[in-house]
């Protein structure tokens, strides 16, 4: 589904972020990409979403070379990916309802479908009582749940969670991971980027370890070892 082929990323200031990274994520997989801060995990996400181009190598999303995709194709890729981020990336001037609805509006979905789907997802995530609140009126855990609701609403094929528990307490962290497992069981591919040892070890799923921008380990039932 997603393929990194000999990816190297060097920034103009000569900082080497990724070096000859190659791996593939199959449909329906749950993959944890682990590494210390600055290991290049977020750069991988930015490459998938076409927010950055690799210095060399290719990134494929469902067979399409992201580096060669035009802006319309890039938009389509971004719509197929449900993103969950450490800083939540919510729209501060929109309510909880509007934040989720926005994703469907971007896709041009009709009013009827939006009215039906958004409350359903918010109920699933436990935010049905906060529909008219703005993100700043929610706790950290609630904001992350809203981000998950937003990632789920379009039933994307891939969920990319970049340090989704970075700002959360252990209780909320496990709740988020539990939700990701549920999403994966429902058929979506989940890519979890984290430096949380405990969570990765508990998951017992595929782990790709990045150190200094290189893949040093890729195990089917891996553990967090750096």
């Amino acid at each position: 589904m997603i393929k990194f082929q000999n990816i190297t990323k060097i920034y103009p200031d000569e900082t080497v972020v990724l070096q000859d990274v190659s791996f593939e994520v199959e449909e329906g997989e749950f993959v944890s990409i682990v590494g210390k801060s600055g290991a290049g995990k977020t750069t991988l996400v930015r490459l998938i979403l076409g927010l950055e181009s690799p210095t060399s190598g290719n990134v494929f999303f469902q067979g399409l070379n992201v580096n060669e995709a035009d802006s319309l194709e890039i938009q389509k890729i971004r719509r197929k990916v449900g993103g969950i981020y450490q800083d939540y990336k919510l729209l501060p001037n929109k309510t909880v309802y509007e934040n989720v609805a926005y994703i469907m509006e971007v896709e041009g979905k009709g009013y009827g479908k939006i009215k039906k789907e958004v409350p359903r997802v918010l109920e699933l995530i436990g935010l049905e009582d906060k529909v008219d609140n703005f993100p700043k009126e929610l706790s950290g855990g609630e904001q992350q749940r809203l981000a998950i609701a937003r990632a789920l609403v379009n039933s994307p094929k891939v969920i990319i969670a970049d340090e989704p528990t970075g700002n959360l307490d252990p209780y909320n962290s496990y709740e988020v991971i539990y939700m990701l497992e549920k999403i994966n069981k429902a058929g979506a591919t989940v890519i979890l980027l984290t430096h949380d040892r405990e969570i990765v070890n508990k998951l017992g799923k595929r782990v790709i370890t990045l150190v200094g921008g290189r893949v040093i380990r890729d195990e089917a039932k891996g553990r967090f070892i750096i």
Binding site: K76, R78, R79, K89, L91, P92, N93, Y102, E105, R150
Partner: protein, 304 residues
């Protein structure tokens, strides 16, 4: 398409009403700058009036020899009018009319009145009063033509040489007023545009993170840009309405005071007769600059 436009419009209205502080600040700055541009418009009206008032007082006179037929003078008048589009008017003053004007002007001067009575005859010459666009070169041209062989048999003298200095001085003053108006106008408009651009930039800067999130979730450029552009237009439209009301009220209140300083000039009348041009200038400046600024600023963040 229509659904997308409705959504973009709704986003713009929501953002506008949810960021009242920023919206009010942007409108305030726009009103101040539109008023500056409107001020230039009024300045132009006042200076044009002053220039035409001054130019109206300047003319040259061609005095005809005693005994020249009226028809010959009228023929010369027609010839002068055909000379150049810059000839604003040629007025024929007959001997009798000249005496009438002379008498009227000096009726309170007993010495002159007595002198005229003693002379007993009309010693004044028929003449043509010629007005051009104020350019000394035009007056010199007319004067030269009148002194050529075709006309010189009728014409006694042309008073251009006596009035030359005054004409040149007036022309230099009016040209300076015009140039000053153009240079200050261009400078102020540039300053005003930069101020508006920076105000809109501040308003959009506030949404920098939001724009980045919208990109990540796959929103198209127009879906992101649209609400900001519409907001820019809303700022501009509201600012235009406020500015028009302030302009109208100021013109009404200042009209009598300016009328005292410049008899014959009605500021409120000028406002009313040019209201559509003013609306167009204010709209082009307010909404136009608002929209263009939003477009440029958002594009910057879309490119990042």
């Amino acid at each position: 398409m229509l659904t997308s436009f409705n959504r973009i419009f709704k986003f713009a209205i929501d953002d506008f009403s949810r960021n009242k502080g920023i919206s009010l600040a942007a409108i305030f700055v726009l009103v101040v700058t539109i008023m500056l541009v409107s001020g230039l418009f009024f300045f132009r009206g006042i200076s044009s009036f002053l220039i035409s008032e001054i130019q109206d007082r300047i003319d040259i006179t061609a005095y005809f020899k005693d005994g020249v037929e009226e028809q010959d003078i009228l023929n010369v008048k027609d010839e002068i009018l055909k000379m150049s589009p810059n000839i604003k008017g040629v007025e024929y003053i007959s001997k009798e009319r000249a005496m009438e004007i002379f008498n009227k002007k000096h009726r309170d001067n007993a010495v002159i009145v007595r002198a005229i009575e003693e002379v007993g005859t009309n010693f004044l010459l028929p003449s043509l009063n010629i007005k051009t666009n104020g350019d000394p070169a035009q007056y010199a041209g007319v004067s030269n033509v009148l002194q050529t062989a075709n006309f010189s048999k009728f014409i006694d003298r042309v008073d251009f040489s006596q009035k030359k200095d005054t004409i040149e001085k007036v022309f230099s003053i009016t040209s300076n007023i015009n140039n000053f108006g153009i240079i200050t106008g261009v400078m102020l408009v540039i300053v005003a545009m930069l101020v508006v651009f920076n105000t809109i930039k501040l308003a959009v800067d506030n949404s920098k993170e939001e724009i980045s999130t919208m990109r990540i979730v796959g929103a198209s450029d127009w879906f992101i840009r649209g609400p900001f552009i519409i907001q820019g237009a809303i700022y501009g439209l509201i600012a235009c309405v406020v500015s028009l009301l302030i302009s109208g009220a100021s013109a009404y209140l200042l009209s009598s005071k300016i009328g005292v300083m410049m008899p014959g000039f009605n500021l409120f009348g000028y406002f009313l007769s040019n209201i559509w041009i003013l609306v167009l200038i204010q709209l082009a400046f307010g909404a136009g600059v608002g929209i263009i600024s939003s477009f440029i600023v958002v594009r910057k963040y879309l490119d990042v």
